[in-house]
C-alpha cells in the first residue's frame, strides 16, 4: 500500500473537494526535522476564496503543515518534506522551484507581530518595492492599511517606525504588509494569539473580507475562532504511540460538520473540550 492511500484510510472521512475549487493541494507523506518525524500522512486541500482553519492540540503539526505551504520551513536546515504540495498544477517542492518564487505568490502572517525596523509606510511598501511595483505607491499603501483596519490610526504618522506601534497595531501592520502585494494565497499562523479580544475581532472581520479576493489558510488555537471564520476545518492530532510525537490529520470537512457532527472519536473529544 503506498503512503498516500494509507493516509486516506487513516482519515476518518477523507475530505474531497472538486479540484477546480482548490487552489492548493497538500499531500504530505512525511515531514522530518532531522530524524524526528513531525507530521505524517495528511491530505489538506486549500479551497479558493475560502478560509481553511487548522485546529488541534499543541505539537500536532498544524503550524508545520501551514509553513510547508510556502516553503517557510526551508529556512530550517534539518527540515525535510516528503510528498507534494500542488499549486496551480505545479508541485512547489519540485527541485526546479525556487522557494523565493513560491513566497511571492503565497504570503504569510506570523504568530508574533514582526514589522521591519523601518517606517509604517516603508513596511507596507516593502513588498511593492520588492516586486518593482510601478503604479501609485501611496494609493496601494493606503488601500492595504485600510483593509487591515489600521489606516485611521496611522494615517498621520506614516513616517514613524513600525516598531513604535502597539502589539495589536503591529500585527495589523504585518497583515497590511502581507496583503499589499495581493498574493494569491494568504497563510496565517495563529495571527491573533498576541492580540486582545478587540483587535482579534478586527482581524477576524478582516479575514472574512480578505476571502473575497484571496484564499486563506488559518492556524488557530482558538476553536471559537475557527467556528467564527473558517469555512472548512482540518483537525490535527498527535500520535504518541510509537514513542515519538507525530502529528497527522484526523478529520477535515465543513466547519459546521466538524464541530457538530464529528466523524472521528478524537475529533469528538477535542471539539467538546474533553482534552486539549
Amino acid at each position: 500500500m503506498n503512503a498516500i492511500a494509507e493516509a486516506e484510510t487513516s482519515q476518518a472521512a477523507a475530505w474531497s473537494v472538486d479540484p477546480k475549487d482548490t487552489v492548493m493541494d497538500c499531500r504530505l507523506q512525511k515531514i522530518f526535522y532531522g530524524d524526528f518525524l513531525a507530521v505524517r500522512n495528511s491530505i489538506v486541500p486549500i479551497e479558493k476564496n475560502k478560509i481553511t482553519g487548522f485546529i488541534g492540540p499543541s505539537g500536532c503539526g498544524k503550524s508545520t503543515v501551514l509553513r510547508s505551504l510556502n516553503r517557510m520551513n526551508d529556512l530550517i536546515p534539518i527540515f525535510r518534506f516528503e510528498g507534494s504540495v500542488t499549486y496551480h498544477g505545479q508541485d512547489i517542492y519540485d527541485k526546479s522551484i525556487d522557494p523565493v518564487l513560491v513566497r511571492r505568490y503565497i504570503g504569510m502572517v506570523f504568530q508574533q507581530p514582526n514589522p521591519f525596523s523601518m517606517s509604517i509606510y516603508d513596511n507596507v511598501a516593502f513588498g511593492l518595492r520588492l516586486n518593482r511595483y510601478k503604479g501609485n505607491m501611496d494609493e496601494r499603501v493606503e488601500k492595504a492599511l485600510r483593509s487591515a483596519a489600521l489606516w485611521t490610526e496611522v494615517k498621520d504618522k506614516l513616517k514613524n517606525s513600525g516598531l513604535s506601534l502597539s502589539g495589536g497595531q503591529q500585527q495589523r501592520l504585518c497583515i497590511a504588509r502581507a496583503v499589499a502585494t495581493e498574493p494569491d494565497v494568504l497563510l496565517m499562523d495563529e495571527p491573533c494569539s498576541a492580540l486582545d479580544p478587540i483587535a482579534t475581532r478586527q482581524v477576524e472581520e478582516l479575514m472574512l473580507e480578505l476571502k473575497e479576493n484571496y484564499s486563506v489558510a488559518l492556524v488557530t488555537h482558538n476553536m471559537q475562532q475557527a467556528t467564527r471564520v473558517a469555512d472548512t476545518t482540518a483537525f490535527f492530532s498527535v500520535d504518541i504511540s510509537q514513542g515519538g510525537r507525530t502529528g497527522y490529520l484526523v478529520e477535515m470537512g465543513e466547519t459546521r460538520q466538524v464541530f457538530e457532527d464529528p466523524q472521528a472519536q478524537l475529533t469528538k473529544e477535542y471539539v467538546s473540550g474533553e482534552f486539549s
Binding site: M72, P77, F116, S117, L130, S161, L163, R177, A178, T181
Partner: protein, 322 residues
C-alpha cells in the same frame, strides 16, 4: 534593618530576609557605586592633570597651536595641524577599509553562509587579530607590508600621478601602510560588535523578510542591515575611536613627518605617534606642548564619540521608533 510589621504572621517557609541578606544588599550597592565613582574621579583627574601641565603651553601658544604647521623645538614653535590631519586621515581610511570588511565578515558569519561550528571558529580567528600586540603589527608592516605594496604603489604613482591620492611615490613608511595596518587592527572590533548586532535581530524579523519572498541578498540588505544599524554604527564608532588613539604601530609606519598631503604614499604623522616619539627626549617646554597636543587628541576622541552617539540615537529613532 527594616522593621517587619508582619512578624506575627505564621508561615511554614516564607519569612523576612535576614540581617545578612540586608547586609549583603548594602555591601553590593556600596561596591558598585564605589566602582562607578572611582571611574569618574579617575577620568576627571586625568583631564585635570593634563590641563594643569598643558596650561603654560596653552597660555603661550593659544589657538595658533591647533592651526599652525611647524614643530620646531629649537625655535620654540609648536603647531599640530599636520598631526590632526594625519590622525583624522589615517583613521578615516582605516574606518573605510576596516568598516566595510568588518561588516562584510559579520554578514558572512551570521547570515547562514556557514555551518554554526565553522562560523564560531572563524569568528575566534578574527577576534584573535585583536590579541596581536601593536608593535608586532608595526614590525609586520615594516618588513612585510611595505615591501609588498611598494611596487603597486609606485606603479600607481607613475601612471596616475596626477591624481592627488597617488601624488607621491612610496619610499618606505607612509599613509598607505599605516592605514592598511590600522584597518586590520580595528577589524576585530568592528566585526565582533557587528556580529552581535546581527545576532540581536530577532529570528522573527528574518522570517518576515523571507516570508515576503526576498532573496537572501534582499533580506540582508533591506531588512537585516537596517535592523542591526544602531549596533553596526556603534561598532564603527568604537573602531574609529581605536584608530584615533592607536600609537605604536603608527609611530613605526607613518613616517613621522610634519606635512599635510592627500597622497596615500607620502609620510605623515599622527597625534598619538607624535606624543610617543617626542616624549622621551623632550625638554620642559616641549613637554608642555606635548601635553597640549594630548588634550587636543582627547578632545577629538571625545567629539567623535559624542558625534557617534548622536548618529546612533538618530538611527535608533529612525528605524526602531525609540
Amino acid at each position: 534593618m527594616a522593621s517587619n510589621p508582619f512578624a506575627h504572621v505564621v508561615t511554614k517557609v516564607s519569612g523576612p530576609p535576614s540581617a545578612v541578606d540586608y547586609g549583603a544588599d548594602k555591601l553590593l550597592r556600596g561596591v558598585v557605586w564605589g566602582a562607578a565613582a572611582v571611574i569618574l574621579l579617575l577620568v576627571a583627574y586625568i583631564v585635570f592633570e593634563l590641563g594643569r601641565q598643558a596650561f603654560p603651553a596653552m597660555l603661550e601658544f593659544g589657538p595658533e597651536f591647533i592651526y599652525s604647521t611647524t614643530w620646531d623645538v629649537q625655535a620654540k614653535q609648536f603647531g599640530i595641524l599636520p598631526e590632526i590631519w594625519g590622525t583624522l586621515y589615517s583613521s578615516l581610511l582605516a574606518l573605510l577599509l576596516g568598516g566595510i570588511l568588518g561588516v562584510a565578515i559579520a554578514i558572512f558569519l551570521t547570515q547562514d553562509f556557514l555551518d554554526h561550528r565553522v562560523s564560531n571558529v572563524f569568528r575566534t580567528i578574527v577576534e584573535m587579530l585583536a590579541a596581536i600586540p601593536s608593535v608586532v603589527y608595526g614590525l609586520w608592516g615594516i618588513y612585510v607590508l611595505i615591501p609588498l605594496i611598494r611596487p603597486g604603489a609606485n606603479w600607481l604613482h607613475d601612471t596616475l600621478g596626477w591624481f592627488p591620492f597617488f601624488g607621491t611615490s612610496l619610499s618606505g613608511p607612509g599613509m598607505a601602510p599605516a592605514a592598511l595596518v590600522l584597518a586590520v587592527m580595528i577589524l576585530p572590533t568592528v566585526a565582533a560588535i557587528s556580529v552581535d548586532a546581527f545576532k540581536r535581530v530577532p529570528y522573527k524579523v528574518k522570517e518576515a523578510a523571507y516570508g515576503m519572498g526576498t532573496t537572501r541578498w534582499e533580506a540582508i540588505l533591506k531588512v537585516m542591515l537596517p535592523s542591526a544599524s544602531s549596533g553596526i554604527l556603534a561598532a564603527l564608532v568604537l573602531g574609529f575611536g581605536r584608530a584615533l588613539g592607536e600609537t605604536m604601530a603608527l609611530a613605526m609606519l607613518i613616517g613621522n613627518s610634519n606635512q599635510i598631503s592627500l597622497s596615500l604614499f607620502a609620510p605623515a604623522n599622527t597625534l598619538a605617534s607624535l606624543l610617543a616619539s617626542s616624549f622621551p627626549e623632550a625638554g620642559p617646554i616641549e613637554v608642555q606642548a606635548l601635553m597640549y597636543a594630548a588634550i587636543a587628541l582627547l578632545a577629538i576622541t571625545l567629539l567623535v564619540n559624542i558625534f557617534g552617539l548622536w548618529i546612533m540615537k538618530a538611527a535608533t529613532r529612525k528605524f526602531e521608533g525609540r
